[in-house]
């Protein structure tokens, strides 16, 4: 499966996916996060903070970004801890967007949907051990490979659209 997955990840079909579908997903995510921040009356993060997403991805990959987002989320929550209604800031929303497996719009959810449709990820709940364990591992490996393959381009879409909306381009609407 590893070879077939690599073939898919380097195919022209996947290039179009990164160029178009992924861009639309990133735009939807940015619009949803900005709307949520507006609704909660929270400020969007500074440009330098958003810049750190790309810098971290380039040096430490997706796992590094998850660590950064968790750290920043903890800082955000510190500021909110004395308030009656604790609000979720940008980094908390980003953490959810990266890793929430129950949300089909999250990056993990997207990876699962795309890979399951092509048979690279299979349902392991009906299998018995040890097949269940090995299928689970294969699924994890496939999702990791997929996320590593899309991360830089996905966050390029994400960050550029974020800057654009943040400065009032197109009134924060998807393009």
């Amino acid at each position: 499966m590893g070879e077939k997955l690599n073939e898919f990840l380097s195919s022209n079909e996947f290039k179009i996916f990164k160029d178009e579908d992924l861009r639309e997903k990133a735009i939807e995510a940015v619009n949803a996060i900005l709307k949520r921040l507006r609704d909660e009356n929270l400020d969007p993060p500074a440009r330098s903070q958003v810049n750190s997403i790309f810098a971290t991805l380039q040096t430490c990959g997706m796992s590094g970004l998850e660590v950064l987002a968790e750290k920043q989320k903890a800082k955000e929550q510190k500021k909110e801890k004395d308030k009656a209604n604790m609000r979720e800031g940008f980094w908390a929303l980003l953490c959810k967007h990266i890793a929430d497996q129950n949300d089909p719009c999250s990056l993990s959810g997207l990876a699962h949907t795309v890979l399951a449709a092509r048979g690279f990820v299979k349902d392991h709940s009906m299998l018995k051990p040890p097949e269940r364990g090995s299928q689970k591992t294969l699924n994890k490996q496939a999702i990791k490979a997929f996320l590593d393959a899309i991360a830089l381009i996905y966050f390029e879409h994400f960050i550029c659209h974020f800057y654009y909306c943040h400065k009032g381009g197109n009134n924060g609407q998807a393009v």
Partner: protein, 127 residues
């Protein structure tokens, strides 16, 4: 970019002829915005000619428009029209190239390069 079917080259040319008036409208707006030719427009054209990914062009425009410098407000003035025209080119590329992913990628970039040439040439002429 690889070689394309002969009919596709013809379709690309026809499409570029069709969109020419819109490219002129955009170029006039770029003149109105006062974007600097050397540092802004040439940089944009260079990126379009060098990139292998269509969405990099869209992201470049958004990035320029989202900056915190004096040129950013000029980019913001033209960005919605630019992004709208690029989205239309993408749709045209799918119509022209059909379902072959390699051809779709190639046609998108060829259309974008033709479009950029039209816009930059008219901009330089009018400025």
């Amino acid at each position: 970019m690889g070689a394309l079917d002969r009919n596709i080259y013809k379709e690309i040319d026809l499409c570029l002829e069709r969109i020419y008036p819109e490219s002129i409208t955009l170029a006039e707006k770029v003149v109105e915005a006062g974007l600097d030719a050397k540092s802004q427009l040439r940089g944009f054209e260079t990126l379009i000619n060098a990139t292998s990914r269509f969405s990099e062009i869209q992201n470049y425009i958004k990035n320029q428009a989202g900056k915190e410098n004096s040129a950013a407000s000029k980019w913001r003035f033209v960005a919605p029209l630019m992004l709208g025209q690029l989205a239309a080119l993408e749709t045209e590329a799918h119509r022209i190239a059909g379902t072959d992913p390699q051809q779709i990628l190639d046609v998108k970039l060829r259309l974008a390069r033709g479009w950029a040439k039209q816009v930059v040439c008219h901009y330089l002429y009018k400025r």
